[in-house]
Amino acid sequence: MDDYAVLSDSELAAVLRQYNIPHGPVVGSTRKLYEKKIFEYETQRRRLSPPSSSASSFSYRFSDLDSASVDSDMYDLPKKEDALLYQSKGYNDDYYEESYLTTRTYGEPESMGTSKGFRQPSASLSDADPFHRQVRDDNLFSLEEEGKDRERLLYGRDSAYQNIAHYRPISNISRSSLGLSYYPTSSSTSSVSSSSSLAPSWLTRRAIRPEKQAPGAAGLGQDRQVPLWGQVLLFLVFAAFLLFVYYSMQAEDGNPFWAEP
């Protein structure tokens, strides 16, 4: 962080602009804040990807981020994706699929075929199939990275990784397929930049999200199985039914007996 102290105010502002960090003028009272922001940004960038590939991934990321809009949405969606995964396929499927995948080494075509066939029933992952091979491609070259990349190593050649929790790669696929960082960050700007700095291996999977949103529930573009108005309507119908039962069970004045005496 002391490296930035040698930069002049205008140089610091240029760096901020380069990293697309929203900023104001660099004055005495704001300087320390901006130095800290640049430091955080570079730390995250270094942590998530090697410096050489990060530059090329930036421009890609930003074009894909157009559809991403607000950060809060980006944060919510991974959880929803995970929730859908939990519901739609159940735990067992994930274990099966992942153990199958991790036992195969890269480069065996039948493994991809069978793994694809195996994954057919899983709706949310079927989109991921074409990208999976590319993911494995890129993963093999990123073995030396730390942090989040550790989870991607689970796909690596080394069979010693087989017995690591099998579900996690699935959730990582879903999250990474959205191209999002799930490290908590202090500000939305740095989280935008950090998500933009994810390794290019997830680049190809980015497209899943626009596809998935299209067939989503009507009206809101959110991850609802039943649309919101449908849910409200169902609730009202149910409430009306309960009321009907309740009132019909109330005792009426008059003769409870059917037959005339």
Binding site: G24, K37, T189
Partner: protein, 89 residues
Amino acid sequence: MLNPQKKSPFVAESRGQVPVGHLSSLGEVLGKKLEERGFDKAYVVLGQFLVLKKDEDLFREWLKDTCGANAKQSRDCFGCLREWCDAFL
């Protein structure tokens, strides 16, 4: 922090002589810390707010770094200053 129905003292009176502790969302302890850093009057904090281009994330992060405000305090302070700016600037 500020009851919206009640005319907030910050918004109502002249900013000139309001000590920073009167940014009621911050309280006395944080006000002292800000004073130590040189932000002794509310208008100086306002100045910082403006220099940060009224950006919420930047301002709240700055506030947290400078005086250790928690999320609620910084949110309230930001809201207060933004209100004022909307009304008078």
